[in-house]
């Protein structure tokens, strides 16, 4: 933490402002997704037969692979921050690239899943289960896209003019967001695919 004092204004907590701001945002994000989970539970309890039958139409294997892809991207995100913090920009770029590839992989698999649902005439308006399924996974996918944009920007900057070690906080803050996206999926996966 010694590098913080030189590059950032003094804080009371020892937590730099960007990180604190990100945590406040993530707290609000927990509330945001809680709303969906709440709606899911209410609708599920009202339509248990529909939810059970519909959930069995989802592809567990594909979702499990996607879970593994997202967990891998979380690992490489954490490693890319660690590398930059220790001044190893080459490793930072390598791990960030893997993270980006995993994020695109996740979105690709998700697209395949959506496409196969559409080809079986399953749409968000089919029933309450698929309405919540598409809403929850759709918002999650938007979060993945939201994380990809700064990642690509950082990688591009690093390749064009270099990414200074002193800015590793930005990578850590982005990492917090990215791990949160992983967390949401950790709860979505059993809720939608497994418990029925």
């Amino acid at each position: 933490m010694s590098t913080l004092a030189t590059t950032h204004t003094q804080t009371n907590t020892g937590i730099y402002h960007g990180k604190l701001g990100m945590w406040v945002f993530l707290a609000s994000e927990i509330m945001f997704f809680t709303g969906f989970f709440g709606a899911f539970i209410v609708l599920r309890n009202l339509n248990i037969e529909v939810f059970t039958a519909s959930a069995h139409q989802l592809d567990k294997v594909v979702a499990t692979i996607n879970t593994a892809v997202l967990i891998t991207s979380s690992l490489t995100m954490a490693l890319s921050h660690l590398a930059l913090e220790r001044g190893n920009e080459a490793k930072f770029r390598l791990f960030l690239t893997i993270t980006i590839i995993c994020a695109f992989g996740f979105l690709g698999i998700k697209t395949y899943e959506y496409a196969s649902k559409f080809s079986h005439d399953i749409y968000p308006w089919t029933n309450n289960f698929f309405a919540t399924y598409f809403t929850m996974t759709g918002f999650h996918a938007l979060h993945v896209i939201g994380g990809l944009i700064p990642m690509i920007w950082m990688l591009g900057k690093s390749m064009v003019k270099g990414y200074p070690q002193s800015m590793h906080h930005r990578v850590e803050t982005l990492g917090l967001y990215w791990h949160f996206v992983d967390l949401v999926w950790i709860f979505l996966f059993p809720t939608l695919y497994l418990i029925f």
Binding site: S2, K60, H179, L183, I186
Partner: protein, 93 residues
């Protein structure tokens, strides 16, 4: 991240968390083949998910190494989440 800890040590702890997450993912899929009853299957699924998220928050999100006061930012909304979700279930809405 705690200074004075070597790159390799931290990398190793990240890898351990990664392996634990993968094992728990396999476990949460595997237990769906066992029928504990409708309610217990949900409980098991949720418990594994909570365990996985604790690992991610504690190590990947550096909560272990940050100012302990930061933990309130996580626990208060998380508690809200749990109370909200369980209240809905218990009320049978």
């Amino acid at each position: 991240m705690a200074s004075g800890v070597s790159f390799e040590q931290i990398q190793k702890s990240y890898l351990k968390v990664f392996i634990a997450l993968m094992v728990l993912t396999a476990l949460t899929v595997a237990v769906t083949t066992i029928h504990f009853g409708d309610f217990m299957n949900i409980v098991v699924g949720v418990l594994i998910a909570i365990g996985k998220s604790a690992l991610v928050i504690w190590i990947f999100m550096h909560l272990k190494f940050d100012n302990p006061r930061l933990r309130y930012f996580v626990f208060v909304p998380a508690l809200f989440f749990v109370v909200f979700v369980f209240a809905l279930t218990v009320l049978g809405l």
